[in-house]
């Protein structure tokens, strides 16, 4: 059993498990942090961004004026943003049998895997994962295609050139694997391969293993996976949460008794308690609005935003912000808000019960009804006529490199009354803000990451008791910035097996048994003899048939009767007599009794010795 690690990102995993002749890909997360190296894509022509000076090396020998631009003291790539793909050279992707998706954030690289690689397998995901994943992909494609860039920069990726570039471009890794965004056709084609599954549904893969999604409590439809055969069990834990948010709570008990537990997707912000951050978010928001400023919240169009809106729903009344408009801008804003309301079966119990009242499970429906929350596909169109300040705007993309957020950065960045509040933990807010410097608007970092923290995961592991734990190497040491925080790492006995990008791990357990079925007629013919209480043995002669990874013992076929001679009428054969089985020898020899018998039959010890010596 082997694990191939195609991504080094702990929360955007992409691993391949080879188990019992099946090749299973676990998630295909897309590392989008690479876009921070690129210039933002403004929706409206920006004089500032269009007049940036090109980069030429100090000695003038390297001139990349067309590809690289200097902005706010840093160098950015001026081309269509590119993403860092999972490793594609470690393993032939066409050999992958199935891809298991755990949540919509961890499937963004799917088109890169399933398209143009010879992939012929299937993808398994829950319905909300598929639908919201589709929204996120469509949004990403929309963001890119809305602002097309003719040029693509490749020269700077040359190793010799990259070496002399200023940081952080110089330190960017795996640049050769970076690719521009996929097309909507790729998205449709990739998603057509998805087969929907429900929680606890058992899916047989070639008869060899059974995979089961379990609720992970992180987002709508998010799941952990159990991959098991008759005698082995591997759990894949990715992006789970024990907090009481909108999704169904995490199913912990089914993870018990695993031989191996692959652990990914812990919180990226172990020191930021989501409750505290939510409180901080609200106070900063209120403070800005009261002072007459606007609030910009760069966020994904699904996920934490539902909780943010719910929290604000309660908060705005208390903080006397009832008259402040809240805008949600995204090409998929409408679908996202509406989808969340129809996935009732995937929600926590509290919200599920609201469906029967009847009441929409999420309070944002009421915000929309009362016109407090308005959503638009983009800044163009209706929004520009309805727009009123001071206001709160939720929009993407959290990297601040594309999407409507770029426009608001240009619009509001100059006033110290305004505030930008980062809630998504995926991007460093300082890097995200780099091309907008100098910036007057206030900046607040309230990353809300509801995934498991180290304390919770230690408790979980104590409970489910896996034999071995495999995890990204980042989890086996304290974060580099806080090396004294020994509480921010996994301390387990035996220690967890760390992996990094391109690792190939031999998982530390051996398959020892295989289940074989006996056909009833064969079973009927067996005559077990009890050798000690409760244990019986029987000899069996049979034919082993292996088909679809299922093994069956069948009775030995009778020899075919000879073709009847034309000349002589053949005597009808009597059925063979079933003989009583001979006593079987097993276990240890009762020595004294044995010697006594030998003595009785006049075999002396001496004779025996002589015999044995011969």
């Amino acid at each position: 059993m082997k694990l191939y690690c195609l991504s080094g990102h702990p929360t955007l995993p992409c691993n391949v498990l080879k188990f019992k002749s099946t090749t299973i890909m676990l998630d295909c997360g897309l590392d989008t942090t690479s876009v921070l190296q690129f210039l933002p894509l403004p929706l409206v022509h920006s004089p500032r961004l269009s007049k940036l000076p090109g980069w030429v090396s100090k000695d003038g020998t390297i001139n990349l004026e067309k590809e690289l631009k200097e902005c706010a003291g840093r160098v950015f790539v001026d081309s269509q943003p590119e993403f860092c793909l999972p490793e594609r050279e470690l393993l032939d992707l066409s050999t992958i049998d199935v891809i298991l998706i755990s949540n919509y954030h961890c499937m963004m690289a799917l088109p890169y895997i399933t398209e143009h690689t010879g992939f012929t397998g299937s993808v398994y995901a829950t319905e909300p994962t598929l639908q919201i994943g589709r929204l996120l992909m469509e949004e990403l494609v929309n963001f890119m295609e809305r602002v097309p860039k003719a040029q693509s920069a490749t020269c700077w990726k040359n190793k010799e050139i990259q070496r002399v570039l200023p940081g952080p471009l110089k330190d960017a890794v795996e640049v050769l694997t970076w690719k521009t965004c996929y097309s909507i056709q790729d998205v449709n084609s990739a998603l057509s391969k998805v087969q929907l599954v429900g929680y606890s549904q058992k899916v047989e893969l070639f008869g060899a293993v059974q995979v089961t999604p379990l609720s992970s409590g992180y987002s709508l439809g998010s799941s952990n996976w159990i991959i098991q055969s008759h005698y082995e069990k591997v759990s894949y834990v990715s992006g789970s949460s024990l907090l009481t948010t909108h999704p169904q709570p995490m199913d912990q008990s089914s993870l018990k008794n695993s031989d191996v537990l692959i652990l990914t997707g812990l919180t990226q912000m172990p020191t930021a308690n989501p409750d505290g951050m939510l409180g901080d978010f609200c106070s900063n928001l209120a403070m800005t609005i009261r002072a007459g400023g606007n609030v910009l919240v760069p966020c994904y169009s699904s996920g934490v935003i539902y909780d943010l809106l719910e929290c604000l729903y309660q908060f705005i009344e208390n903080a006397n912000l009832g008259s402040t408009p809240f805008y949600f801008l995204s090409p998929v804003a409408n679908s996202s808000l509406e989808f969340s309301q129809i996935f009732a079966e995937w929600l926590c119990h509290n919200k599920q019960s609201k469906v029967y009242l009847p009441e929409p499970p999420f309070p944002h429906a009421e915000l929309i009804q009362t016109n407090k929350l308005k959503h638009y596909p983009s800044i163009h169109g209706d929004f520009s006529t309805d727009f009123r300040q001071p206001c709160v705007v939720f929009t993407g993309h959290p990297s601040l490199r594309f999407g409507d957020v770029v426009h608001f950065m240009e619009l509001w960045g100059k006033s110290s009354l305004n505030t930008i509040i980062f809630t998504e933990p995926d991007f460093s807010y300082l890097d995200a803000l780099a091309p907008y410097q100098p910036l007057s608007m206030k900046c607040v970092y309230c990353p809300i990451d509801t995934r498991l923290n180290f304390h919770q995961v230690s408790k979980l592991l104590k409970e489910v008791q896996p034999l071995h734990v495999v995890c990204p190497e980042q989890y086996t040491q304290p974060p580099p910035s806080q090396s004294h925080r020994s509480d921010l790492m996994l301390e387990l006995q035996p220690p967890p097996m760390p992996y990094r990008r391109c690792s190939v791990l031999g998982l530390p357990f051996r398959r020892r048994y295989e289940r074989i079925h006996l056909l009833p007629e064969l079973a009927k013919s067996l005559v077990p003899s009890e050798i000690k209480p409760g244990v019986s043995l029987a000899t069996v002669s049979a034919v082993l048939q292996s088909k679809d990874n299922k093994h069956t013992l069948q009775p030995v076929p009778k020899p075919l009767p000879l073709p009847p001679s034309k000349k002589r009428k053949r005597v009808v054969e009597e059925p063979p007599e079933v003989l009583a089985p001979k006593p079987l020898l097993s276990g240890s020899v009762p020595l004294e009794a044995f010697l006594a018998v030998l003595h009785k039959v006049r075999v002396s010890l001496k004779t025996l010795n002589t015999y044995l010596a011969c």
Partner: protein, 915 residues
């Protein structure tokens, strides 16, 4: 609870024999034995003065009752218990004792064997009654003699380990009482306690000089045996007895006790039994406090501090700390025990391990090396024990909390800075901020236990606040404030932690000698975070922030101009507590308004209408109460004399709204405001203590105008547009006393009289009582006696002509009725006719008799003084000052209840509702 009533009234005296007869009758059973408790409480109150001598003389039935119950072979256990307690109470006087002895009651009642034989002793109530009886009785030598003769010591000693905790505790107290009741004296130590300076000697020497009673010696022998017993309960009870007795023991008894118990105590201390740590420490501390310092005692205390269990050692150290006269060695040890865990966790050096070596110069090098290595071994040993202790979360947190809470008491002047650094480092650790260099190797697990622990954070912040008084603290103000700011910034800080941070910050801001150099820190770092906290989701945080802002105003570190807008915004907070705090904080900023000029006045102009709006509209009582308090402060800082006419309009609104509020506390606060107004309006005449100077703002007010015609209308509108009555008289500075009629009419104009009458007729007793006493004060000071009585005021005519309008008031008919009754009475005395048609018919002046219409027709108002004299305020006050259940709680009611209950029990079974 029956109020102590030292004299029995005649009604009770008549009833008591019947009650005694009923209680003594075995056929009658009392369904509710709490009445026996109440009866005993009442009788105890009656016997307080003379140990029951008078009671016995007046109520011989009590003796009969006791004899009947005690001589009965199978009394009811609860009745027996009551009789035993009562007999002890009555036997507390020698006279009563002799009377009971004459009837041979005591010997029978206190024969425990008799009750054992009857099977009654198994009932704990009988045992506890027996103990209380003995304890009550033991007030004179006769009782002690009886105790010795009857051999009661043995059963008492047995009861000390009774399975019932209450019985065992009472027995222990009785034993302590026995020991200290008749204390032995020695030839050399007569009465003084401090003469014992020599070390404790052995028993032999003391017995010769001590005249201890045989009872004392028996108890001591028992105590000694208890302490070496294998039975845990017996040891524990022995220790408890010691810790109860020692504080009351005089020198001779103490010496006797110590000579007996010191050795067993040594054994217990050295055995290191964890379950005995606390009681042992109690005994040692009691011994230490009760007499002169003794080296063996100090040794024992030091041994306790050497406990292998760090928590126990720290507990002992914390208990030792408050000792006033602690030997330096012991004190050092205490400090070491308490500071060591802190040092281990924070890595800040707090202990000088070579202290001893430096002070003792006589040691040879060899000796020193040997000692060092021994000390190192011990140190390592202790450290590993400590480490184990700190690695466990619960023990780590409790130990660190204990240590941190006591830092101020252990800190020396010279080590103050290091302790402060340690506490700051600890707070940084708890916040997850400690840098790797300060974390001590091996303690990372312990540190993990502390990260995010709000209990330790709170203790640390308390300690930090108290350490602000240390010398040298001034140099560390900025560092401390930075730590506190981090706590305020941290979104994960618990609401209570934020509150503690504020408290600590106030203390530290106030010690700064040069507040100016803190201005950048306050302006750039503190104010933004405060503004953010004002928008916190948790109301508790907003509330403490508002309170802190109020204190900041007072401290003067920040200009109140910066703070007031934030507070004004908080007035519209959703949570009423926050609104109330904001109002209180604004009130705190008021005294500064004079100093801060026009800007602040402007703010005040904004604040006053807002808070008035809250008083009239807010649905929560807290906020409204705060508003009235606000105006009390406002009036103190803005005397009416110095403020504009709008001020009196504001006060009129406050009084009219506050006196009819739904919340009784708002009404009470309004009456406080009334009190203040009365004092201000009638300076030198009301409320001031004899001999005290009039208040600084003691100048008179006069809103007189044409009295009786310019009736102030008590409008509920907040923006009353009525022109204020013209100021007709400016008092001369040399004239502190205002003419009463002017003062009174001023009060009428402000609506004070209406507010007081609103209060008087209020359904809430405290409000009515307060209003009644204020009205009484006003009447007695200002109003002349009505006609026919001796006049006290000089300016009778003018004062009695001050009128007020009662139209529209709910209590108007009542006032008129009273007035009419009063007049009827007066006229009857004057020999004139009765004007009964007037009662309740205020509006029809045509039907009124001439005198009524002329003087108090409703259209023209009613004379204030006349109303005040007609209300029967004294009677009202005496009725109101009694609690509403005074009838039910009276002894008479109790006796009647007992009689009724037994009678009812005779007739039919009644289920008593004890809710």
């Amino acid at each position: 609870m029956i109020p102590p009533n030292c004299v029995m009234d005649s009604e009770c005296m008549l009833l008591l024999p019947r009650v005694c007869a009923v209680l003594a009758d075995p056929r009658q059973s009392l369904p509710d034995d709490t009445s026996l408790e109440k009866l005993l409480d009442w009788l105890t109150g009656l016997t307080k003065e003379d140990h029951g001598q008078a009671l016995l003389e007046s109520c011989p039935c009590l003796l009969d009752y006791i004899s009947t119950v005690c001589l009965d072979k199978t009394p009811d256990p609860s009745m027996l218990s009551f009789s035993l307690k009562l007999s002890g109470l009555l036997a507390a006087s020698q006279h009563g004792f002799s009377l009971l002895q004459d009837r041979s009651v005591l010997g029978v009642a206190y024969d425990s064997e008799r009750w054992k034989g009857a099977g009654l002793w198994e009932d704990p109530s009988v045992r506890i009654g027996w103990i209380h009886g003995v304890n009550n009785m033991l007030q004179h030598a006769l009782a002690l003699h009886f105790l010795e003769q009857a051999g009661l010591t043995k059963p008492i000693l047995q009861l000390q380990t009774d399975p019932s905790l209450f019985v065992a505790l009472a027995a222990n107290h009785l034993l302590a009482h026995l020991l200290t009741f008749h204390q032995p004296t020695t030839a050399s130590h007569t009465t003084q306690r401090n003469g014992l300076s020599r070390p404790l000697s052995e028993e032999g020497e003391l017995v010769e000089t001590t005249q201890a009673s045989s009872v004392t010696m028996e108890i001591l022998r028992h105590l000694e045996n208890s302490l070496v017993s294998d039975n845990h309960t017996q040891v524990l009870q022995g220790l408890r007895l010691l810790s109860v007795t020692l504080p009351q023991a005089e020198a001779a008894l103490r010496e006797l006790l110590m000579s007996r118990v010191l050795r067993p105590l040594e054994g217990l201390v050295l055995a290191g039994r964890r379950d005995l740590t606390q009681p042992l420490m109690d005994v040692l501390l009691a011994a230490y406090r009760s007499g002169p310092c003794d080296s063996r005692l100090v040794f024992l205390m030091t041994s306790m501090l050497n406990s292998q269990n760090s928590s126990d050692a720290a507990l002992c150290a914390a208990a030792t700390l408050p000792l006033d006269t602690c030997p330096p060695d012991l004190r050092e040890k205490v400090a070491a025990v308490l500071l060591e865990p802190l040092q281990a966790i924070t890595g800040v050096s707090l202990l000088d391990r070579h202290n001893d070596q430096q002070t003792d110069h006589r040691r040879t090098d060899q000796q020193t090396d040997q000692m060092d290595s021994d000390q190192d071994k011990q140190w390592d040993g202790v450290s590993s024990v400590l480490l184990d202790h700190l690695n466990k979360k619960s023990s780590c947190i409790s130990l660190i909390c204990l240590c941190v809470s006591n830092t101020l008491a252990v800190v020396h002047t010279e080590s103050c800075a290091s302790v402060l650094h340690a506490v700051m480092a600890l707070l940084n650790i708890c916040n997850g901020q400690s840098s790797p260099s300060t974390a001590v190797i091996g303690y990372s697990k312990a540190i993990t236990n502390l990260i995010g622990c709000s209990k330790v954070q709170r203790c640390g912040l308390d300690a930090l606040a108290s350490l602000s008084t240390c010398s040298g603290a001034v140099d560390l103000v900025t560092d401390v404030l930075r730590v506190l700011l981090q706590y305020l910034h941290n979104p994960d800080s618990d609401a209570t932690v934020v509150q503690k941070s504020y408290q600590a910050m106030l203390r530290w801001l106030n010690i700064s000698t040069e507040p100016l150099y803190l201005t950048p820190l306050v302006g750039q770092d503190l104010l933004p975070v405060l503004k953010k906290r004002m928008c916190d989701v948790r109301w508790e945080v907003r509330d403490s922030t508002v309170e802190f802002l109020g204190h900041l105003c007072v401290s003067g570190v920040v200009s109140s101009c910066t703070i007031t807008p934030i507070l004004l915004e908080a007035l519209s907070d959703q949570q009423s507590y926050v609104r109330a705090s904001a109002i209180s904080a604004l009130a705190k900023s008021l005294p500064l308004s004079g100093q801060q000029g026009a800007a602040q006045d402007h703010v005040e102009k904004e604040a006053v209408p807002r808070v008035l709006h809250i008083l009239s509209q807010d649905s929560e009582g807290f906020a409204r109460r705060a508003v009235v308090q606000f105006f009390i402060t406002w009036l103190k800082t803005h005397p009416l004399s110095s403020s504009s006419s709008s001020s009196s309009a504001v006060l009129r609104s406050v009084l009219s709204l506050g006196s009819v509020d739904l919340d009784w506390e708002v009404k009470c606060h309004t009456l406080e405001l009334v009190d203040l107004l009365m004092q201000e309006t009638l300076p030198g005449q009301l409320g001031s203590e004899p001999g005290s100077a009039p208040p600084p703002y003691a100048v008179s007010l006069s809103y007189g105008g044409s009295l009786g015609t310019n009736n102030p209308t008590h409008t509920h509108s907040l923006t009353s547009s009525l022109p204020p009555p013209p100021l007709t008289r400016t008092p001369a500075p040399t004239e502190p006393i205002t003419a009463p009629h002017l003062g009174l009419s001023g009060l009428v104009n402000l609506g004070v009289i209406t507010a007081l009458l609103n209060g008087l007729f209020d359904c809430d007793r405290p409000v009515a009582l307060k209003a009644c006493s204020l009205l009484l004060r006003l009447r007695n000071t200002v109003c002349p006696r009505p006609l026919g009585q001796v006049a006290v005021a000089t300016d009778n005519t003018t004062v009695s002509e001050v009128m007020f309008d009662l139209s529209g008031q709910v209590w108007a008919p009542e006032v008129i009725l009273r007035l009419a009754e009063k007049r009827e009475c007066d006229w009857a005395e004057d020999g004139e006719g009765v004007c009964d048609r007037l009662v309740g018919n205020c509006g029809s002046s045509s039907e009124a008799c001439g005198r009524w219409t002329e003087r108090s027709g409703c259209g023209g108002g009613i004379g204030v003084c006349e109303v005040l004299w007609s209300l029967g305020l004294e009677e009202r006050q005496s009725v109101l000052s009694r609690s509403s259940d005074h009838v039910q709680n009276s002894p008479l009611s109790l006796l009647q209840d007992i009689l009724t209950a037994t009678r009812a029990a005779d007739i039919e079974e009644v289920i008593v509702d004890c809710y």
